[in-house]
């Protein structure tokens, strides 16, 4: 890619200091991406979410972020002040979280909070914000945007809530969307629809997407490139189409231990963890 990268991360470390010891959650992750779909896959505690959050400056105060390079669209993110972060977050890069039940404001209607998100980032009147909210609800394929605009979060289903979240994140038209397990709380058929919406929006708007998930098969079907994380490190980077040719034993183990519909097996393969993987080998 000749243009400057959307995201450039080099040797990212995130360490959490606790009373008794330091926990290195991310240990030397590097990633350069343009307007593409990147998947970050790993199990609980692999550092995948912490990596996504560090990029948005959402590391909690107990965590320390170090990197040789941490750039978004050419801008150095290291040591950025709160005002600088506010300028980027929501407007230029946004995040969709796992569970809409906990990320939507329960005492505002769906439409109001999407409008509020818009007016936070763009100078606009109420009427314009309303129009924008309705348009973006339609973009995430909510059939009757006018009705859903006036609903409170407890009145919508999980799938609709997640689409409302995506609508809210997209209303300011960010260049990068970080989606942290955006469909894990959803039923498979609803999950497919939400993914199709993300897929379409990313390709139509030319947005970059970082898709954080524990589901290797899903990510491979959806993204262009996949980073497999284990113990805070990237153990393997793959083109999604070449998943079947994965070489690292951890990646292979993850693929093999999932029950499959297309073939019966008496016993599932289990992962034997090699301590050497922790050193990135």
């Amino acid at each position: 890619m000749m243009e400057k990268p959307l995201v450039a991360i080099e040797d990212l470390h995130v360490t959490f200091r606790t009373r008794t010891r330091d926990v290195a959650a991310v240990r030397g992750v590097s990633l350069t991406m343009g307007k593409e779909k990147i998947g970050i896959v790993g199990e609980s505690g692999s550092g995948k979410s912490v990596t996504g959050r560090a990029l948005l400056g959402l590391t909690p105060p107990t965590g320390e972020v170090r990197a040789k390079r941490l750039e978004f669209d050419g801008q150095d993110l290291r040591g950025l002040d709160p005002a600088g972060w506010r300028h980027l977050r929501g407007r230029r890069m946004a995040m969709v979280m796992q569970d809409p039940k906990f990320s939507l404001n329960p005492v505002m209607t769906v439409g109001q909070q999407i409008g509020e998100a818009y007016r936070t980032h763009v100078k606009a009147g109420r009427a314009e914000a309303r129009d924008k909210a309705l348009a973006v609800l339609e973009a995430v394929r909510i059939r009757d945007p006018g009705r859903v605009y006036d609903l409170y979060p407890h009145e919508v289903s999980g799938g609709m809530g997640q689409r409302a979240m995506i609508a809210m994140m997209l209303v300011a038209e960010p260049d990068l969307l970080i989606a942290d397990e955006p469909t894990s709380a959803l039923d498979v058929t609803v999950q497919m629809q939400v993914l199709a919406i993300l897929d379409e929006l990313v390709s139509r708007r030319g947005m970059g997407l970082i898709f954080v998930s524990h589901d290797l098969d899903l990510v491979a079907a959806f993204c262009d490139r996949v980073l497999v994380m284990y113990g805070g490190r990237v153990v393997e980077t793959l083109k999604a189409s070449e998943l079947a040719g994965a070489k690292h034993p951890y990646t292979r183990g993850l693929l093999d231990c999932v029950p499959r519909l297309d073939r019966a097996q008496r016993e599932l393969a289990v992962l034997t963890r090699d301590p050497a993987w922790l050193d990135g080998r």
């Binding site: 609980s44 999980g158 497919m192 499959r260 097996q265 289990v270």
Partner: protein
């Protein structure tokens, strides 16, 4: 047939959560209930377990019709494992106490030996006996929950999404464990899951539920051969195979 449900119904303030479900399970069989959120699959399991009071229809266990209230004798033969290993263990009680309680309830002898054996069987061993739940990983907690269910030597386990909160590598270990225990003790399983592949792996026969009704019942082998007839089952199968943009487009919006 060790268990059968006939025209089972559960209604929550006007909503028919389960509507006329009928099925039966043979001794030693592993039977699956699959469906999405709100399909009524967990409600069926809770009615079987006696955790819901207002079901209608008939449930038979080992030839006898079950009342709404169950006695201790029933729970000596039928035990349940819940979805959330974080919520189903008392945070202030050690593993030892969690395992000792069912033994006390059922007045069982040789408690010391039984606790040690149960821990051994689920692959934890003595070292875990005096730990608290917060000192265990999700997979280890689910093993404790399985040990707690098995310690009274039941004939049947009711499994409500036993691995959906676990990482896939841990899921594989727990599923292998459940399968091995079923064969070792000739247990009967009724397993509920939203994951078609997990149920197909564990169960020889399964029922697919949608909106409170059983829409299709079939052998897992037939399912694998793609012989599902019901459109909902077929959709669920297609969605379980992974993301496919064309397929996603073909699903109508559900709201």
């Amino acid at each position: 047939m060790i268990l059968s449900a006939e025209n089972l119904g559960v209604e929550f303030t006007g909503l028919k959560a389960v509507d006329g479900a009928s099925f039966s399970v043979a001794r030693g069989e592993s039977y699956g209930l699959v469906g999405e959120s709100g399909s009524g699959k967990s409600t069926v399991l809770r009615a079987l377990a006696g955790l819901i009071g207002n079901w209608t229809g008939t449930i038979r266990f080992d030839g006898r019709e079950l009342a709404h209230d169950r006695d201790r004798g029933f729970y000596a033969r039928v035990q349940m494992v819940f979805q959330d290993p974080y919520g189903s263990l008392h945070p202030r009680q050690t593993v030892d106490r969690a395992l000792a309680e069912p033994l006390a309830i059922h007045n069982m002898d040789r408690r010391e030996a039984r606790i040690e054996k149960a821990l051994e069987e689920v692959g934890l061993g003595h070292g875990f006996r005096f730990r608290y739940p917060h000192q265990l990983s999700g997979g280890q907690r689910q093993r404790v929950a399985i040990a707690r269910a098995l310690i009274v030597e039941p004939e049947m386990l009711l499994l409500d999404e036993p691995t959906s909160a676990l990482d896939v590598s841990i899921q594989a270990e727990v599923l292998n464990l459940l399968d091995a225990l079923r064969r070792a003790h000739n247990l009967t399983f009724v397993m509920v899951s939203h994951n078609l592949a997990v149920v197909a792996h564990m169960c020889a026969r399964l029922a697919v539920m949608n909106r409170g009704k059983i829409v299709e019942e079939m052998d897992t082998d037939a399912l694998r051969r793609g012989e599902a007839k019901d459109p909902y089952t077929r959709r669920l199968m297609a969605a379980s195979r992974g993301y496919d943009r064309k397929l996603a487009e073909s699903f109508k919006t559900l709201d």
